[in-house]
Symmetry: C2
Subunit: 208 residues, 2 copies
Amino acid sequence: MHPQSPPAESAGTGRRTRIDDDAARERALQAADRLYYSRGIQAVGMDDLRAESGLSLKRLYALFPSKEAIVEEVLHRRHDTWVQGVTSAVQLAHSPRERLLAIYDFLGRWFSDDDFRGCAFINSFGELAGVVPRVAEIVRDHKTDFQRYVAQLVADAGGSADLGPQLVLLAEGAQVTAAIAGTPEAAGHARRAAETLIDADLNVGVRA
Amino acid sequence: MHPQSPPAESAGTGRRTRIDDDAARERALQAADRLYYSRGIQAVGMDDLRAESGLSLKRLYALFPSKEAIVEEVLHRRHDTWVQGVTSAVQLAHSPRERLLAIYDFLGRWFSDDDFRGCAFINSFGELAGVVPRVAEIVRDHKTDFQRYVAQLVADAGGSADLGPQLVLLAEGAQVTAAIAGTPEAAGHARRAAETLIDADLNVGVRA
DNA sequence: TATAGTAGAGAACGTGCGTTCTCGCGTCAA
DNA sequence: TTGACGCGAGAACGCACGTTCTCTACTATA
């Protein structure tokens, strides 16, 4: 079962938890992500997390100093997952224009997940930004990173500086709208709008 | 001080609160809106609301059956304020195209408010939709209403059925982005994107 | 002035939270 | 087998919340 043998060499001091701690952290963070994403952060107590993760409260507090630390790490992991999902979807496309549009196809697949409940960063911002500045900061960093990424794709496609922020607005609006409506169609609307904006932008130089 | 004289005609039963109740409700709801909007709903207790409104807890619970009822009424009033703000901004424009673009100018002015903290409905959805279905419903109704309104403006401008949802995505994305970034520039990006989408859509018939 | 009724201040109540502590069991070295 | 340790279960603690209740002071009439 365990891919790694227990560290028998640390004999003297009964320490034997290095690998188990990693697995426990993973379980805790996955459970926290599930719960926070589906119910919100404040509505999920540490006891809910204990039940969902199967870890004792003692273990949870040995692994993390506080609930807020768990929240921050969950958001950081969500960011990594998002970056990986977007970039891998984008990399499958074969032209700069297709790479930009791949973002909306990726969103469409995500919106169709049964447990899709919007962008965790937007949700966290609405819930906690007014009262936990660190969360506001993490959300801001996440969105700034996405804006930079899209700007780079736009530059690769030869688009103007205005196009990036416009395409980002479509992506953000689609996430919000799909979450609230409970349907994935916003991704299609965003994609078609993006096509129009991209083609208009790339043809400006041609037409003039 | 008081613009209205006390209702001395209700002599028999010491009842004398009809008008005062209205004023008290107004104070309570304005205070609740301020607090919920700036800090989030769960982070604001009834005692905070008591301090901000200047009304006693007893009075608050005489006026409203529960905190959730206050939350719902605050959202309903926000909806009315939003509708009034958007429609009055739109009505000042002189052409169908300008009327659509007036939405983004209205957003830009709103984003520049010192206390702008995003769309209260999006924020409430992120915070409570997973745990208070009534809030999710009110938010959904609010967004559906806006989509219908924009669709009508698009129809008046002779636009196609796809244009409305696309313009809505820009507005939603701008609200989210302006809130998280803390800057109003998203309104300008949304406006320019909207111009492109509108012109492309209205010229399809011409070009074909 | 005396009295009934009202409303505000805030204590009280029950609950649930984040966090820490206690207890008892199981595990392993000698 | 013994004994010490480590861990999980969950009780305990302090606090804050939503809601209700109590007490006091004041207003208005006779």
